[in-house]
């Protein structure tokens, strides 16, 4: 198992199987994300998108298969290697997951303090830089409960970007936001991808952002527990042989 060759991809999933007790959630999932790509993981509700992401960032152990983050097999590695892999990734959770007892500024500063030796004034400057990147200048001293849902997502994004990760995982970044804010987040994702050369993996089912952002798409299905389609969004919309995929991309209108 450990002899399997390292992968040149930024993230690679090989033959991943997820099972809770008798319930099989995902079976034999394999795909690779090349560096600097933007991949969207799609699927209907309950198809295991978020579960797949939780396995890709090492929060849960798969029943079988491997996940490689920049050549580190995070399913079978030492704690030290796992921590190295964690430093390469940033994660934006669905509910932003900002620490509610800390201000926005403290949330962004948290990983910077932990993994660098800069002084407090220097870290404060970096927090300013990161917050202005997501358009949240001046909100350092607000608590997460004091800002809106869209602002929380952006603050979560700033925290995920705090240590300039090579790979960014976003769980439904624009879900529950109004179209204008959602489009702003999409633009932000593209900017990050271009300016910081970050590999981005998005879990979503928002059609508009899939077309705006994703270069590659994989689609999960609840019944087969597997990937039923992969390609660019345009290919899937028009050329997919699978009726469910075409329905998904055409909002159920065939």
């Amino acid at each position: 198992m450990t002899t399997s060759p390292a992968s040149p991809a930024a993230v690679e999933v090989r033959h991943l199987r997820v099972q809770y007790g008798d319930a099989l959630i995902l079976d034999d999932i394999s795909f690779a994300v090349p560096p600097r790509d933007i991949l969207a993981i799609l699927g209907g509700s309950g198809s295991g998108k978020s579960t797949l992401m939780r396995h890709m960032i090492g929060l849960e152990r798969p029943a079988a298969g491997q996940v490689f983050i920049d050549k580190i097999n995070i399913t079978q590695c030492s704690a030290r290697q796992f921590n190295m892999a964690l430093k390469k990734i940033g994660v934006l959770f669905q509910g932003s997951a900002l620490i509610s007892s800390m201000t926005v500024g403290e949330n962004v500063a948290l990983p910077i303090f932990e993994f660098t030796d800069f002084s407090k004034p220097a870290v404060d400057k970096m927090v300013q830089v990161k917050l202005s990147l997501v358009g949240l200048e001046g909100y350092e001293n607000h608590f997460p409960a004091e800002i809106s849902g869209g602002m929380k997502k952006r603050a979560g994004l700033a925290r995920a970007l705090a240590l300039n990760p090579e790979i960014l995982f976003l769980d439904e970044p624009s879900a529950g936001l109004d179209p204008v804010t959602a489009a702003e987040i999409d633009r932000l994702i593209l900017d990050i991808n271009q300016q910081l050369k970050t590999t981005i993996i998005i879990v979503t089912h928002e059609l508009a952002s899939i077309f705006a952002v994703a270069r590659q798409v994989i689609m999960l299905d609840k019944t087969t527990k597997n990937i039923i389609a992969r390609g660019t969004p345009a290919q899937l919309k028009t050329q997919s042989a699978h009726p469910y995929v075409r329905q998904f991309f055409n909002r159920g209108l065939e």
């Binding site: 939780r54 929060l59 940033g90 509910g95 900002l98 620490i99 925290r159």
Partner: protein
Amino acid sequence: MTATQHLHSPPLFDLQETADREWTIRITGDLTIAVAGDIRKALMAALTGKPLTSLVIDLNQVAGTDDYGALVLYELKHRLRLPDDRFRLLNPPDLIKGRLAQMTGTDARPAPPGPGLFSFSFVTQTGERTLEILKEGGNFISFIGALVVAGMRIAGKPKSLRLNDMVRHMKTTGVDALPVVALISALLGLIMAFMSSLQLKQFGANIYVASLVAVSMVSELGPVMTAIIVSGRSGSAYAAEISTMKISEEIDALVTMGFDPVLFLAIPRMLAAVIVIPLLTMFSNLFAIAGGLLIGVTMLDLSAGTYISQTLNSLSLFELCWGLSKSVVFAILISGVGCLRGFQAKGGAAAVGHAATSAVVTSIFLIVLFDSIFAVIRSYWG
């Protein structure tokens, strides 16, 4: 429709015996949610006690219908236990027919039990509960392991201890609890002094009220009362706070940022508790003795000087240290259980409430258990 109009509204149906033991109900108005309750009540009243083996519902003249209309007919059929061939509908609208078929048809089986529901079978329930207890034991052991690992990390790199958080928890657990601890302890001292004086007065042994209050508070009641108050105030707060962070993915976020959640959340709380709970216990002792002093001076004709010197005579340094070491153990129990229950939480808002409740219940149980262990040790110690 007002109540008076309602009373004079035309009858909702008429009822006739059309053949031997066969009754026909002709519904003339609406059969919708607006009248369903009235029709149901009136029909039940009209049919109760009638010799009846089959029923015909004439829907030729029915005006509006909806699924609640169908529900009235379903309940009628169900209550009277009529088989399909003895319950006929005349000219039912499609909607009524469809809904009624859906309610009575073969597809209308009760929903299967959800995955999270406990089975009611004794054997499976016992098995499930056993597995749950084993899993909880496993959680407990791995939590202790995680605490040890976090402790070693701090020993290796003291900067990783979140000192600011610790100070904040010292304030909320200690300073903020002082008024309530002081009040309860003072009242406890008052009560003890008063109750014991009723007995001791008979022997003229009033002076021993001071010894009784001092010894029982310092070695037993001070640590236990303080621990119980703190577990209600702070043990539950730890559990609620951490479980909320758990269900809102904040702990997952900490993990992916490379933090150890136990080091980040549990260690500052536990250290804070271990520092402030013995201090609170000291205050508790002090206030209880003050309460006793008040009774002694006002009701027992003791001078403050005698009371205090009798108190000091009856206490020893060992007694004080014994009480304080108990309170250190209680502090570890309260904060550890609070944090563990928080980390164990799973699900939604109910999980937060459950974590807080079970933190308090478990820690009070453990406080009493460990207090009795201390008592046994002491009795062998001599």
